[in-house]
């Protein structure tokens, strides 16, 4: 009995133990490469426990955590994304930091944030939800300000801290209201109260809306998106990647579970709220992205829009929605890793290369890097052969299936708008090379740390995932369907 619980929980326990060991290892002896490899292996070993944990699922471990295939799928996504980010970070940090400044804690914080993410995927109770939420947010906060001698990262860290506190405060207030009305904190029984009485108490609804607003703040859905561009721009690029991928994937995993178990989508006010958030996010993100001259800001605004698309899929409800959302999030992680990964790899000492001018004519000087960026952008734009197309297809299919015609039309119109700025960046890649840019790029290539096999491998891996999912998505679709079914089944089966 107890053993089964441990098996089911093994990924989380594993990563927690590894975080502790990492901390001790850093205290014992600082060595950048060794710690980086250790952090990478921690994630890899945790990933290896997933199939083992799957043998014990679905299983509610205490009332706080629900380990099912669905959670394990998101764990796999989070862990593998973290691995790619660790691989990208190593080169970035060697360039940005001198050896004696102490970079090793970066990996510890990264593992802790991932630990928080894993808790979020399994959370079935508002307490575990809050714990995971905070663990992720606080670790990220220190990661964002990790380049502590620079101005922008510190500014971004303060912004993120304020955001996190606000989100937590709103969330806590919402939780208090929900607890007041229902006297319980598990997702399921909070929803059951309403289902039994067939009436929606006003305070209950208010509490739920506050909780959703807290989540929207974390996801950066408009109109709660103000922090996104600044934090994306200011944070060290690998951490920007982390915020865009792992942090959001974990919150989406939670949101999907929350909406399914509470039965949120059967309540018209919430549906209206979500629709509004979706449309406003799509429009705001895309329109503001049109004006950007900075790659990281552009991707930041585009991420706002993308989570608008995810909401459209989410609103469809039922199995197709869960399937589409999961697929889209996985695909989005791959594309973001690709796009931000290129920015990470391209950045050099002292500054991130994120202005449009830096990318002028990149295709002619560093074709592989430019091709990778172009591939990711095309995928974000949803052009076939890339995973982004299948993702967008999924979102549209879910929307059409549920008859959400207006939202689907908004999605289409926004995709067309979004094409404009993706194309603008792609055109820049193919532009004429300016003389100084060419020289600096030449110099950069000659510097030894510039080309690094870890970056080549990680970007190559991401590119192959983008292409593979674009051409042959069936295996992943099968996997998602299996996993998502358990989420829905559990939601139905529980008394």
């Amino acid at each position: 009995m107890i053993l089964q619980d441990f098996i089911a929980l093994s990924p989380i326990l594993d990563l927690g133990a590894f975080s502790l060991v990492t901390m001790l290892a850093i205290a014992f002896k600082r060595h950048h490469a060794r710690i980086a490899v250790f952090a990478f292996l921690s994630c890899l070993l945790t990933l290896a426990t997933l199939p083992w944990a799957a043998t014990a699922t679905p299983r509610g471990v205490t009332m706080l955590l629900m380990v099912d295939r669905y959670a394990l799928l998101y764990m796999g996504l989070i862990l593998s994304t973290t691995m790619v980010i660790i691989a990208l970070s190593y080169r970035y940090l060697t360039i940005q930091f001198r050896e004696e400044e102490g970079v090793e804690e970066y990996y510890l914080l990264l593992l802790l944030a991932t630990f928080g993410g894993l808790v979020l995927t399994t959370a079935a109770h508002f307490v575990s939800f809050f714990l995971g939420f905070e663990l992720l947010g606080l670790s990220l906060c220190s990661l964002i300000g990790y380049l502590r001698t620079r101005r922008h990262p510190l500014e971004a860290a303060v912004k993120y801290l304020l955001l996190s506190i606000t989100a937590s405060a709103i969330l806590l207030f919402g939780l208090a209201l929900l607890y007041f009305e229902s006297g319980t904190m598990t997702f399921h029984s909070v929803g059951a109260i309403v289902k039994q009485t067939q009436t929606v108490p006003a305070l209950w609804l208010g509490g739920l809306i506050l909780v959703l607003v807290g989540i929207a703040l974390k996801l950066g859905l408009a109109p709660f998106h103000m922090w996104i561009p600044d934090v994306y721009q200011g944070a060290p690029t690998p951490i920007t990647t982390y915020i865009a991928t792992v942090s959001k994937a974990a919150v989406i995993a939670l949101l999907l579970r929350l909406t399914t178990e509470v039965g949120v989508l059967e309540m018209p006010p919430i549906v209206h709220l979500f629709s509004l958030l979706a449309v406003v996010s799509m429009v705001t993100g895309n329109v503001l992205a049109l004006l950007q001259q900075n790659v990281k800001r552009l991707l930041a605004y585009s991420s706002i829009a993308h989570f608008g698309y995810v909401l459209v899929a989410l609103l469809a409800g039922g199995p197709p929605a869960a399937e589409a959302v999961t697929f889209y999030v996985i695909v989005y992680c791959a594309m973001s890793l690709g796009a931000f990964g290129v920015v990470t790899v391209y950045s050099n000492e002292g500054e991130d290369k994120d202005r449009f001018e830096d990318y002028q004519g990149l295709f002619w000087t560093r074709p592989w890097l430019a091709a990778m960026l172009a591939l990711s952008l095309l995928s974000l734009a949803g052009i076939p052969v890339t995973a982004g197309f299948i993702g967008k297809f999924y979102a549209i299919a879910a929307g059409v299936d549920a008859g959400l015609w207006w939202l689907v039309l908004a999605l289409i119109a926004n995709s067309v708008v979004s094409l404009y700025y993706y194309l603008r960046l792609i055109v820049t890649l193919f532009g004429e090379v300016t003389e100084p840019a060419a020289v600096s790029q030449q110099e950069a290539v000659q510097r030894p740390e510039f080309v690094n096999w870890t970056t080549v491998c990680s970007l190559g891996f991401v590119a192959s995932i983008i292409l593979l999912l674009g051409v042959y998505p069936e295996p992943l679709i099968d996997l998602i369907r299996h996993s998502v079914n358990t989420l829905l089944m559990v939601a139905v089966q529980r008394p």
Binding site: A397, V400, Y420
Partner: protein, 517 residues
């Protein structure tokens, strides 16, 4: 598997063309030419292999290939070749060759990448003509856009950024509307049968409510009319055709426009016979407006490439007019017009590109009197101007005449108006000749004449034009079964009183052209 070869030959040859740049400046060109030639021959072989061409129609494919792809959504790798696709694939390979020859001297930078993109685009187009799974179709439909876009944005002229953006945004907007309609169809299939399907055969017999059919047909129309292009959504065309490098313009005008027409014939009309009668007058009206509007604006152009671009809009109007006329005769005219227009604009743009390369201008006001300077170029331009204005004996005439004749029974008034377009075609075509080649000669306009290679190519296109003009049976018999199939549901749902006169007319024409009735 042979069908996959048709698509894969250009796509697999593309990286080699790129790498070929390292060996020699001409290696990419020869690799591209070789790949297209092999493709052309393969298509001929597949088409000529048996006489089943005669009986093939919808659901009965000459050659078919079916593999499972994404069973979750009922998506399969389903390719099928029938008479219509055969003709268009042959046209694609041929026009591709013309485009490569037109770029022979114009493209001097990044030759490898240019030909790589040309091959990828053509591979996508061939996929479009072969795919009979709607998802796969859409996949190829989008696939051909990216290389086309790169061709414009890297090798285009001064305003290339603007033009390429416009091109991409317009076509993409149309495509996404199309995608939603395709998804909706597949999901409707799921509602009826319990499993989604994107297969053409499955979706053909899908019972639709009139309301649903109306919306879906509208979405399909939007998707394809943008590509064609028809009048309200044509504004990307003049900019794009003018700013693209000659080779890309030839591909755009010669082939990509035909994918829109193909979409109308293959999908829009057969999938929604219920609302065909409602949409036919509107679509035909748009066609007529396109014919007149394109011709009118062509008359006013001073830029030679823009003139040809607007004339293309006019010619595409005939395609739209014929496609919705609902008679077999008009549909045959549409196919003929597609082939003829591909050949004639290919020739015209090649010549316009040659002029631009020699004199660094497209303004006809700055040219003039070139008849004596570049006689080869001038004579060929005259020939293609005549083809474009629909001189009897050349292929364009057959196409336009069949469309007008076939559609007269349904919409006499529109046809009378459309005929005016042919008159205006004479005005702008001859005006172009007058201003460029016959007017007073300017000093310092000496330049080498067409190279042997280019001259040989245009001569060959001219010969094809004459051959198809005098003996259109080749094209017409190949596509006849398909057109016959197309017309049946449409006729069944249109006013049956038109039936006798139509069959009378078509049998008349068919015998007069030496076909078995």
């Amino acid at each position: 598997m042979a069908l996959w070869l048709l698509i894969l030959i250009p796509i697999l040859a593309a990286p080699f063309a790129w790498m070929g740049e390292q060996w020699s400046r001409y290696a990419p060109r020869w690799i591209a030419l070789g790949a297209l030639a092999v493709d052309f021959l393969l298509a001929l072989l597949l088409g000529g292999h048996s006489d089943r061409v005669q009986i093939s129609g919808h659901g009965v494919w000459l050659v078919e290939s079916h593999l499972s792809w994404i069973p979750r959504w009922g998506i399969s790798l389903h390719l099928g070749l029938d008479g219509l696709s055969l003709v268009l694939i042959l046209l694609t390979a041929f026009v591709g060759v013309v485009a490569i020859i037109a770029s022979w001297t114009e493209i001097q930078s990044r030759v490898g990448l240019f030909h790589c993109n040309v091959l990828l685009a053509l591979g996508g187009v061939i996929g479009v003509f072969l795919a009979i799974d709607l998802f796969l179709f859409f996949f190829f439909w989008e696939l051909m856009l990216i290389p086309m876009y790169l061709l414009i944005v890297i090798w285009g002229h001064a305003q290339r950024r603007h033009a390429s953006f416009k091109f991409f945004l317009f076509t993409q907007a149309g495509s996404l509307v199309l995608l939603v309609a395709i998804v909706a169809l597949a999901l409707l299939h799921q509602q009826v049968t319990g499993r989604p399907s994107f297969d053409y055969g499955d979706l053909m017999g899908l019972p639709l409510t009139t309301d649903m059919a109306r919306w879906l047909m509208l979405a399909f129309l939007i998707g394809f009319l943008v590509k064609l292009p028809a009048v309200p959504v044509h504004t990307w065309l003049p900019d794009t055709y003018t700013e693209a490098p000659t080779g890309a313009t030839i591909i755009l005008a010669g082939i990509l426009a035909k994918t829109g027409a193909y979409g109308l014939l293959r999908f829009t009309i057969p999938l929604f016979p219920e609302v065909m009668t409602e949409f036919a007058p509107i679509a035909m009206g748009l066609g007529v407006v396109g014919i007149l509007y394109g011709a009118l604006l062509a008359c006013a152009q001073t830029d030679i490439k823009r003139l040809v671009a607007y004339s293309s809009i006019s010619h595409m109007g005939f395609i739209l007019l014929g496609a919705f006329a609902g008679t077999e005769l008009a549909l045959q005219g549409v196919v003929m017009q597609m082939v003829a227009h591909g050949l004639s604009t290919g020739g015209l743009f090649l010549l316009a590109g040659a002029l631009e390369e020699r004199y660094q201008t497209r303004e006809m006001g700055q040219l003039g009197g070139l008849w004596g300077v570049t006689p080869r170029l001038a004579t060929m331009a005259l020939f293609f101007a005549c083809a474009s204005l629909g001189l009897p004996g050349l292929a364009n005439f057959i196409g336009e005449f069949l469309v007008l004749f076939g559609a007269y029974a349904t919409q006499p008034l529109m046809i009378i108006l459309a005929s005016l377009g042919m008159v205006m075609a004479a005005i702008y075509s001859l005006g172009m000749m007058q201003r460029t080649f016959f007017a007073r000669q300017r000093d310092a306009l000496t330049a080498p004449d067409l190279s042997n290679l280019a001259f040989g190519t245009v001569l060959f296109i001219a010969a094809l034009q004459v051959w198809l003009g005098l003996y259109p049976k080749m094209v017409l018999t190949t596509t006849r079964p398909v057109m016959k199939q197309l017309v049946q549901p449409a006729v069944a749902s249109t006013n049956p009183t038109h039936l006798p006169s139509q069959s009378l007319l078509s049998s008349h024409i068919v015998t007069s052209q030496g076909m078995t009735p």
